[in-house]
């Protein structure tokens, strides 16, 4: 079962997202700030496949901190960033830093939850394929990798 971490400072947001993702069959954990999520991500037992984080929490760009911590701990971890509607500046930056994608929280007429679920599925696919590629590389050219090391 894939493990997902939700980071948002608003209880209502965490509750709604968690409920939906559990319904989709994921194991879900939550953190209420960038600070606490970073602690969680850097701990030994951390093993999240996907992290969904809000961009603006303690700071307007707190999401970037979560993103760096997640990828820093596990290069295959996929991060989906949630942003305010119409605020793409930080979103672009997060893509450059390696986020899987960003989702605007309030797009008129769009079911954001369905969108997030879709992004999570795609993120998990990429994670699986990334891991597979690395494994195949290891299988096919173990000697070369070793000699290169």
């Amino acid at each position: 079962m894939a493990k997902i971490l939700i980071v948002d400072d608003e209880l209502e947001v965490r509750t709604a997202l968690k409920r939906r993702l559990i319904r989709e069959g994921y194991a879900v954990e939550v953190a209420d700030s960038a600070e606490s999520s970073v602690k969680l991500l850097e701990s030994e037992e951390a093993a999240f496949d996907v992290v969904i984080t809000d961009m603006s929490m303690e700071e307007p760009d707190s999401g970037l901190r979560v993103l760096k911590a997640a990828i820093g701990h596990d290069i295959f971890c996929e991060v989906v960033v949630l942003t305010a509607y119409g605020n793409v500046t930080n979103a672009v930056q997060s893509m450059q830093l390696g986020a899987f994608d960003y989702v605007e929280k309030n797009i008129p007429g769009v079911d954001t939850y369905d969108l997030i679920v879709m992004k999570v599925e795609k993120a998990l696919e990429r994670r699986r394929s990334s891991i597979n590629i690395v494994r195949r590389l290891e299988d096919i050219r173990p000697s070369k990798l070793k000699s290169g090391a």
Binding site: T15, A16, R19, R20, A84, K105, N106, T112, Y113
Partner: protein, 610 residues
Amino acid sequence: MSIQETTNRDENSMALTSTTQKPNDCTFQAQLQSLIGLAITHPEIEEVLQAIMDEALRVVAGKRGFLAVVNYDTGEVVIKSTAGSGWTERTKKLRLHLAQETNRGITGHVALSGKPYMTGDASNDPYFLSFFPDVKSEIAVPVIEAEGNTRGVINIDSSEADAFDAGDIVRLESVADVAAFALIVNDFRTRERALIEIGNELSSIIDLESLVRKVVDVSAEVLRYEDCSVYLLDEQTDLLVLQASRGPLKESIGQATYELGQGITGWVAQHGEPVRILDVASDPRWRGVHLEIPREEMGALLCVPIISRDKVVGVIRVVRRRTQSSWFQNNFTEMDERVLTTIASQLGAAVENVRGFHRLLRAERMAAWGELSAKSAHMIGNRTFALKGDLNELRYILNQPSWTEQHDDLISLLESMEHGVTRLEEILHEFRDFVVATKVTLQDADINEIIQEVIAESFPKRSEIKLILQLAKDLPVVKCDETRLKRAFSELIENSVSFQPHGGELLIRSRLTDQSEQSRYRLAPSRQYVQVEFIDQGPGIPPDTKSRIFQPFFSSRVKGMGLGLSIVKGIVEAHHGIIIESGEPGKGAWFSIFLPTQRNESSAIKNGRS
């Protein structure tokens, strides 16, 4: 007339001194010198004039005497100081109308001619006017000011015939010079006091309206004018707009305007130079657009620019009525012009202060607005996002065939949505309160009444918190917007209640602010303040956040956007008041609100009623 000359002339009349017991020159000179000293050092002009009159009576050995001053506005000579015997309260109040052709008396004659006069045979004198039955001789000299204007008259009588001679005139003229000196010194003192008063006042007033009113009142004392008007230049329209006046123009404040260059007022604003003229109507620039007194009565005009940072920001004009008698020149002096220019420059600096203050407020508010928009969009966005999640879940449940069995899930969804909508409403509420905090309509109100009503509305009926009320009796009226002030008070009460969840104490106190507090918090010294305090036993404000609690979006409570205390501050400042927090961290919060009381007039009315 110099004292030297006096002594020379005095020698000629030495023969008379022995019979009428007149003092010798040395005593007289010493007396004059001590009177000059008195005029310089003694602050009360009445007592100085009294000493001068006593000496005047003594030096010519008269029976009784008086010093009268000319009132240029009314055309009267009014007694200011008396000496000798036989005066009653009624005779002390005698006035002479100089405009009348007859019955001006010797005093009136001297005032108009500016020359001394004496008679040794009063009953046959053409000018003599009998106030006392026993007068046989009378002597009067004018009190002449620096510019040559007659300021008043010293008049001495005697019950003996031919009691005075030319030497007496000379001696009395010396005394009159000292009297003129004393009056001028007093003028300077009055002006200095007034200027200092204006200076003190101007630095502490933050609303333009009361500032300008104060200037008009104080200059009235100093310049003896009929009326005074202040026009300020509107930065947007480039029109001079009337801000204050004492007479009939009062009705047109805010409406009467001059264009730059229009009339004398507009000319002064355009050229940045003062205008001082004796006869307004004869000046080609005069248009007579807005008149303080009827056209035919307009006399002298003094008009100076109000300058701030090398720019004309307005004009002060003072006018005098045309004088009743052609003998008088009721013009403004160069000294008057200097005084008004000084007042105008102080006003200019103060206007700049006030405008700068408002610009700062506007800028602060604009910045807050930007932040407010971003913050509220974020918060509303999050709430909507959560609500959307609930709706999404609702649809999912309803799409299942077994949805009727999921009653509990549906109820919890419903509760979550209700909660979300409430949060949205709270945000809108705060948003609105923040926006309207500074839009107040001020009306006279009893602060204690407001406090009691707020407590009835906002303090929880069942509470673990002990509420203590200490409301001072007979507080002066405060000009305030009841609804807004209640909002501010209730915010502080709700804060205190929410920070003492396990019970505690809230003390609400009202009282008159004392002088030491007034200066500690740099409140205007000339105003009276009422203070309302909210003192509790909650956790208080931590030292590191004390400086930020009144900023927008600062909150240690979960509810709303954190605008609460910034709204309170906005409301208090719109009342020209201040709010401070002075509690000891860990021991409780202590909020004090200082509100200026209504100016004397209306509080006097209130006291009169109670």
